[in-house]
Symmetry: C2
Subunit: 106 residues, 2 copies
């Protein structure tokens, strides 16, 4: 099954209250049905050399690219983006059709 | 539900036959039960500025950190790592306990 994934790797600015950012993100995706799955985590285990200063990963799944585009332009997302962007020190964003080789687990 | 995620963002060296690498990876995870889910994709949609030269994402899920550690030291993984490492131009690896806010979809 191929789905559209939106993957964000980020390092937040020093002093950012990451819990608040994530709470805002959780609220956002719970309000918008287009987001089919959402998970995030804070890197704690990767060797420093490999994490390269990135501290958090955020992953969202959509049924199709059009749903992602609609999410991007959703007023709630646009509003949240301002808060999120202000907290970023560095970021990588990848968007791709995901090839699911082993099924996802709940 | 919290699970342990292993996330890799990579840019392969020019001339790499990515299909072969991914086929090898698919074979690897299909042989090792510790890997509970596995998906990958090639970035096609992200603005160049945000993708920062990274082209592929690989995501694996484990029930717990110990399973990930066991996977890392599995002889098949060690063997595959040599091929994989030789093809890498740049990489970021994050390992984290994943907070699943919306459930994963099959």
């Amino acid at each position: 099954m191929v789905r559209f994934k939106h993957l964000v790797i980020v390092r937040f600015k020093e002093g950012t209250v990451v819990e608040e950012i994530m709470k805002g993100l959780e609220k956002l995706v719970s309000e918008i049905d287009l987001v089919k799955s959402f998970s995030w985590g804070q890197d704690l285990e990767s060797p420093e050399m490999l994490a390269q200063g990135f501290t958090h990963a955020i992953s969202m799944t959509f049924d199709k690219k059009q749903d992602y585009t609609a999410f991007q332009t959703h007023p709630n997302h646009v509003e949240f983006s301002a808060t999120f962007s202000a907290a970023i020190e560095k970021i990588v964003v990848l968007c791709f059709s995901s090839v699911q080789v082993k099924p996802a687990v709940a």
